[in-house]
Amino acid sequence: MVRLLIIWVILSAIGIVAALQLNYPPYDQSIQGQDQASTLKLLTVLATPVFIGVVMMILYAAIYFRRTVPELVDGPPMLGNTPVQIAWVAISAILVLFLAVVGIATLSSENVAQAVGQPGRAIGQSGGQTGSGTAGGTGSELHVQVIAQQWYFTYRYADYDGVETTHLYLPLDRPVELHVTSLDIIHSFWAYELGVKADANPGVDNIFHVTPQKTGSFQVRCAELCGLWHGHMADSSGQVVSQSDFDTWIAGQQADFNTIGKVVPSYAPYYFPEPKLKAG
C-alpha cells in the first residue's frame, strides 16, 4: 500500500508539472480569456492526481485480483475500509469546497460580465456562457453592438454615431461592452480567442465585457444551430488593433456608412424588424 502511495505521489507530481506546461484555451488575447485559461489550468492541476489515482486503482485491481481460471462463484464480500473511506470523502470535500470558494469569489467580484436589472436587458449569466471576469484595461469603455441575422454578424459602434460594420475591430487594452442581439432567430456570438460566448436573442440586449490584451486576428462564429448556413456563419477577420489603428479604421467605416446611414434605424438596444413574414 505504501509502495502504491509513493508511486501515486510521484506520478501525480509528474502529471501536475506536465499540466502546468500546457497552453489552455482560449489563451490570452483578452483578460477574460486569460481568466478562463487560468481556471482551466487550476481544474486540470486539481484533477490530475485524482485521475492518476483512479487509473492506478483500476490497473491494480485488474492485475492483482484477476482470475486465471473460470469460476462460477462470487468473490469474498467487501466489508469496507474506514480510513480509506474517510480519506476519500474528506479529500473530495476539500477539493469541491475549494473550487466553490474560487467560483463564488469570481462571481462576486466587482466587474462581473453582465449588466444586471436594466429595463429590457438580460439579467444574469446562464450556464455555459462565458465572458466574465475583470474588465481591466485603460480608457473609457467602448460600446459595441453585435447584431446576428441569418446568416451573418454585423456590428454597430454606439460611441461612433451607431456606425455599422461587417467586421469586428477592437482597440487594444480598452474595456469593451458588447451588446449582443438578433434580428430574427436565436444565434450565439462566439469570439473564441477573446473568451466571449453570448446568446443572441431577438428582443434582448445581452451584455458582456471583454478587454483585448493582444493585437491580432480572432474568429467570430455562431455557436447556436441556426439553419442552412449555420456552419458558414463565421468570420475570421476580427481584429484587435492599436487605438490609433482603430481610430483610422473607424473613421473609414464612418465615411462608408454615410451612404446608407440615413436609412438605417438609430442605434437601439435591440430591434423588431418587420415584416416577420413576407407577404405574398
Binding site: 446568416w151 432567430i185 439553419g227 446608407i260
Partner: protein, 210 residues
C-alpha cells in the same frame, strides 16, 4: 400474431420509404452546377420559378418558390474577376437589416442598374446603395466581402419588366464559398427565411473556386 407483426413491419417499411422519398425528392434535390468554369455569370431572379422567362425549370418540385436561375452552384477560377449580370424580375419586399442596402466588395464600388422609375420611365445609372425597402433580393458572398442589393421591380414598371444589374467582383484562392440572399424573401415561411431561403438551389448556393 404473425399477421399483426407483418402489418406493423409493412407499416414501418412504408413510413421509411415515404421519409426517404420526401428527403430525396424535396429536401435534397437541387439543380446541378453550370457546366464548366466561367468568369461570366448571367442569372435571373424570379418571384416564382414557374414565372421564369430565360431559364424555365418545369420539373422543379417547388414551382411557387422564389429563386435564382438557372442554378445556384457555379464554378469560377481563382484570383479572377467575375462579371455578373442579374436579370431581376421580382418585386421589392425589403431588407430586414437596412444596412445591406449598401454595396460592398465589388469592383469600383458601384453596380450598374437599368430600371424603371416611379413614373414608369426607363432609367439607368451606377449605384453604391439602394433604398432598403426597395430591395427584392441580395447577391452576397460574405467570405469574399461581396454584398449587392438588387432593386425590386416597381409597381409602375411595364408588365414583364426586368431590372438589369451588372457588376464584377474578384475571387480569392480555391475553395467553396457560400452565397445567399439577405432579403427574407421566402413567402409564407417563418421570418421569411424558410423554404427557398433554406434550401440550396433557390436563394442560396455555392461558388466553387478552382
Amino acid at each position: 400474431m404473425l399477421r399483426r407483426v407483418s402489418l406493423v413491419a409493412a407499416g414501418v417499411v412504408i413510413v421509411v420509404i415515404a421519409i426517404v422519398a420526401f428527403v430525396g425528392l424535396f429536401m435534397l434535390r437541387q439543380p446541378g452546377p453550370l457546366a464548366g468554369t466561367t468568369t461570366k455569370l448571367h442569372l435571373e431572379t424570379v418571384a416564382a420559378l414557374s414565372d421564369a422567362v430565360e431559364w424555365p425549370r418545369p420539373n422543379d418540385p417547388h414551382p411557387d418558390w422564389v429563386g435564382y436561375l438557372p442554378t445556384t452552384t457555379w464554378h469560377v477560377p481563382a484570383n479572377s474577376t467575375i462579371q455578373v449580370q442579374i436579370d431581376q424580375e421580382d418585386g421589392a419586399s425589403g431588407l430586414r437589416n437596412p444596412f445591406w442596402g449598401k454595396v460592398f466588395g465589388i469592383e469600383g464600388g458601384t453596380m450598374h442598374v437599368k430600371y424603371f422609375d416611379d413614373k414608369g420611365n426607363p432609367q439607368e445609372g451606377d449605384m453604391d446603395s439602394i433604398d432598403p425597402t426597395m430591395a427584392a433580393h441580395t447577391f452576397a458572398i460574405p467570405d469574399l466581402g461581396v454584398f449587392v442589393p438588387l432593386l425590386g421591380v416597381g409597381d409602375t414598371a411595364p408588365p414583364g419588366t426586368q431590372n438589369i444589374i451588372t457588376f464584377s467582383f474578384k475571387t480569392k484562392g480555391p475553395g467553396i464559398y457560400r452565397w445567399q440572399c439577405f432579403v427574407p424573401c421566402a413567402a409564407g415561411t417563418l421570418f421569411g427565411n424558410g423554404g427557398p431561403m433554406s434550401t440550396i438551389g433557390y436563394m442560396g448556393g455555392e461558388l466553387i473556386v478552382t
